[in-house]
């Protein structure tokens, strides 16, 4: 759509600007302030320069948390995206069953994060949980309090349970937008199922899949509540991801300087990924307009 050039439109944006500035810019300035200062309490600050940044950059603990975070996001994407596409392909296209499936699939997305954590924490317990008890009955030693591997399995399983539906919904919406004529053309050419998927369905899902991948990457990169409730970051620090470590540092230990420096670097990473996301998406929008 060609837009009218009019700078008065700023007045319409002003309320959003003020509100988001209040809840984003001011807090962010506080963080910047902390990151370059040291304090002994009583609101007395000393200039510390980039000391905190150096400390955080060289801290073993940070490196470990970052690797865990990257590994987690990679595993999540590798499982959720193919699974989501596969499930979306199996959903009925219209009628009451389509609606019912949509609602059932979307259900996990609407459960508060801490309740998701509670559900899985209880579900995995050996004494009272269905999954834990079943595994115990099968003779498998499953203990998220002691084994790091088990804790990882449950955290990954929980995220797959919670968020695969997002990929399903977006892929399903992409599939719905394919005109029936495309499939007819495929049948006339006697295209195999794989060819139909590869050359008709996948290209049409490209846009929504991109959004799904980026949203999943971002959200898994800042995951906090669910692992916090289920494992508390343990056993040891096996499931301590970036956000958990950050909150531990900032609010638990009140190490403001390092926590702030950490926050800023964390935020810069997010900013970078957001920029990639935004650029790719605006380009896609443009492509669609030309088609």
């Amino acid at each position: 759509m060609d837009k009218t050039q009019n700078n008065k439109a700023w007045f319409l944006v002003l309320p959003v600007l003020v509100l988001v500035a209040f809840s984003a810019v001011i807090p962010l300035m506080t963080v910047v302030n902390y990151s370059v200062n040291d304090t002994f309490g009583d609101n007395q600050f000393f200039w510390a320069g980039f000391e905190w940044f150096e400390e955080v950059l060289h801290s073993e603990r940070m490196h470990a948390a970052l690797w865990r975070q990257l590994l987690f996001s990679a595993i999540i994407l590798a499982i959720e995206v193919p699974l989501g596409i596969a499930v979306a392909l199996t959903m009925p296209k219209r009628g009451i069953w389509a609606s019912t499936c949509l609602v059932l699939v979307a259900l996990p997305l609407l459960i508060p994060f801490n309740v998701v954590g509670t559900i899985w924490q209880v579900f995995a317990r050996i004494d009272i949980g269905l999954m834990g008890a079943t595994l115990a009955a099968l003779g498998i030693d499953f203990n998220i309090g002691q084994s790091s591997l088990d804790a990882w399995i449950i955290v990954v399983g929980m995220d797959v349970w919670h968020w695969t539906s997002l990929v399903v919904l977006l892929s399903y919406a992409g599939l719905q937008s394919i005109p029936e004529a495309y499939y007819q053309a495929g049948r006339i050419d006697q295209a195999s199922r794989w060819a139909v998927f590869r050359y008709i369905e996948l290209p049409k899902m490209k846009g929504v899949l991109l959004i799904a991948v980026l949203l999943r990457f971002m959200d898994s990169f800042m995951i906090y509540t669910e692992p916090f409730v289920v494992t508390g970051g343990g056993p040891g620090s096996a499931t301590t991801f970036l956000s958990i470590d950050l909150v531990k540092m900032a609010i638990g230990q009140f190490d403001l300087g390092p926590a702030a420096a950490f926050s800023i670097m964390y935020f810069l990473v997010i900013l970078l990924v957001s920029w990639v996301f935004y650029t790719v998406m605006t380009n896609l929008d443009k492509e669609e307009e030309f088609e």
Binding site: M1, P15, L110, P112, D127, V247, Y278
Partner: protein
């Protein structure tokens, strides 16, 4: 005759293949739905059991179904006020977010102005910002202005990610409305506010509904920020649940019942937005 049978054989084979494919696809779907529903079922199941039964045995359905867990929640102010408090700030947040997002989304969808792309990008970064980064600064900001432990503090803090989200979703819906409608209305002598309320709003009603639903949802599911910004007066349901589970440790029945009650609002509303839910998650871009 021979030509007929030649074509007939591949056709039945193709039919068999299609049937097999349909069967496997149904099995995948049913398997996935079971995977989604069994943990939820386990929670519901537990909420109808007594604590003694939960601890003593693993049953697929309650032996002696009881409503005691729900009665405890509705009878204890620290529990049911958690829901009331959460609902208050969630509704406040939804109203604020939609009100400020409507004009902004209109501006983004209709006009190009100085810095519009940068502004839009800046809004996106706020949707993507990790709440953990903001937890401590929020605590200090709202303490210093005397809003700590109030509903409005949580509502304003959630605007950080809900306002950008609402702008994005609404912009997606608004760009689907042809610009000629605006121009015709202006020629007919409508003023901007009257045009917006009388003509434009009904056209994007579903968009407003979806945006409101998403604001409601993301405010409802958050634990980190609401926990950081509240303490005594405004105890949210998420806080009530985490505190109870750590304090007593054994009251799983009540915990399960509280969990089931938090699922209900979302489960009810989702039916109305089922056809738009993907559009909402895709930030209006499907």
């Amino acid at each position: 005759m021979s030509a007929l049978s030649l074509t007939a054989i591949p056709r039945t084979r193709a039919k068999d293949k299609a049937g097999l494919r349909l069967l496997t696809s149904r099995l995948v779907l049913i398997g996935y739905l079971l995977f989604l529903l069994i943990p939820i079922y386990w929670l519901v199941n537990m909420s109808f059991k007594t604590n003694a039964e939960i601890m003593s045995s693993v049953n697929l359905w309650p032996e002696t179904p009881t409503l005691a867990n729900y009665a405890r929640i509705f009878g204890d102010p620290t529990w049911y006020m958690g829901y009331v408090n959460s609902l208050i700030y969630v509704v406040m947040n939804t109203v604020i977010s939609i009100t400020v997002a409507l004009p902004a989304a209109y501006a983004f969808s209709r006009y190009s102005f100085l810095g519009d792309k940068h502004l839009f990008f800046w809004l996106l970064t706020n949707r993507m910002a990790p709440p953990a980064v903001f937890a401590l600064p929020f605590f200090q900001l709202y303490s210093s202005v005397g809003l700590f432990d109030t509903h409005i503090a949580v509502a304003l803090a959630h605007c950080l990610f809900n306002v950008p989200l609402a702008v994005w979703i609404l912009e997606g819906f608004m760009r689907g409305v042809p610009k000629e409608i605006d121009e015709t209305a202006y020629i007919d002598g409508y003023s901007f506010p009257r045009f917006f309320l009388k003509i434009f709003m009904p056209l994007i009603a579903s968009g407003v509904g979806v945006a409101a639903f998403f604001c409601f949802m993301f405010s409802w599911v958050d634990l980190l920020i609401s926990r950081t910004l509240t303490s005594v007066d405004v105890k949210t349901i998420g806080v009530a649940m985490t505190r109870t589970s750590s304090a007593t440790g054994l009251d799983y029945g009540t915990l399960a019942a509280a969990g089931v009650l938090t699922i209900i609002p979302g489960a009810l509303v989702i039916w109305f937005v089922r056809n738009y839910i993907a559009k909402g998650f895709a930030l209006g871009r499907v």
